[in-house]
Symmetry: D2
């Protein structure tokens, strides 16, 4: 397998190409036995918690400035990468196309939550707010 | 704004086009005030928990068959969509490119975890296993 | 086994008595095979997410009033119960005394975070704030 | 305030006494402004994720042996303490009695899940299994 580093002038990575690189990455290290759907769902949840940890004590105002501090911004990008990596590996394990799943969900939600004439400016109820 | 439903013969959605549709979706409903980085990080973690819930009592064998039951398979796709939706909305809120973040992380990990000559077949330690 | 309902005039439940009732509850329903340490850790995380879900879109001001609405207050108490139930069942599975673990942790933290002369009034750093 | 270390011969800590020590601990460090119900619910979820992290790659057999390795056992006790600490601090913030909430929930579940004559030995469905 090749594990090329994207260089200058190379095309932007796509979701599909990154999903494949993660497959190759795990295969080269023989990590597939650990990458069951259940383990990956747990790991995804753990990483989402690590992203949330960055924000847990911040006021709304501080949270809005989270990317202005370089070290914290790096942590945010790093945790976003971890969440996306495990989500893609989970999708590989269960055979789900994440883009198709999201497109279908958005379409359902566009019907479920029609745009109001005056548009809503109240706090969406927890149970009503899908996205 | 337009909220078209993808029809037959239309191009596959891309991550970028779905991210934009989510922006439009929230804007049309005036939900932006709730979509702070902190709230979206919390919502992402909540949805990752809902995905994990599907697997929490399953044996490894049962987890491997999770998609063979249609209703459960629908739930899995639905939760994958929710996790991806909140991740993209979070990325919009903080100005992070999720594909670039993941590409950079994979490159760091390719250096951090060189492929062993014989390749590893032991359980990766919790603290060592990045992806 | 007895599964008595605590009546008026009966003593307040203790953590230990509730932990035992949960053991009896699961045993009577033959649920022990599902109550592995790993499954219970996953379930605990899922329930903590459900508690967080109640708060995810609330402003700090709204969050401070969360118990003033009876239905939402019931949900909060219900999720607190679920988190505590799974934490106790997890402790049973691994043989950890939760009160001793917490007492030991508080003592470590009292040494790790000495009370400052003027006392801190700045936002505790994410990595420094233990409790 | 006093922050005594429990010594030999002293009484076992109770949930209530530990909850009060956590109140005193935060007050002495002036951390109360950060301990809103929403922040504490987030922190509880984050810590539950850290507990789950210990188990995420383990097989059921390995998970059953998690306490046999001293360093890992220490991590488990440490994360149990963190989860319980944030749960108690959350309960303080919203004015919920965790023992009363759990006792009430167990009673509801004893009615909702009557003990079957032959007792169940099938995998409890995700939506049916409360505890």
């Amino acid at each position: 397998m090749s594990e090329r580093v994207t260089g200058p002038g190379e095309p932007e990575p796509t979701l599909e190409s990154l999903q494949q690189r993660l497959v190759d990455f795990a295969a080269a290290r023989r990590w597939e036995p650990f990458h069951t759907s259940k383990n990956l769902a747990a790991a995804l949840s753990v990483e989402a918690g690590e992203l949330l940890e960055i924000f847990q004590w911040l006021t709304p105002e501080q949270a809005a400035e989270v990317m202005s501090e370089p070290e914290r911004a790096h942590r945010v990008r790093d945790e976003v990468a971890d969440v996306l990596a495990y989500l893609l590996q989970f999708c590989t394990a269960v055979g789900v196309d994440p883009l198709a799943a999201l497109a279908a969900k958005i379409e359902r939600n566009e019907h479920r939550f029609p745009v109001p004439d005056g548009a809503a400016d109240v706090n969406p109820d927890v149970d009503d707010q899908p996205l």
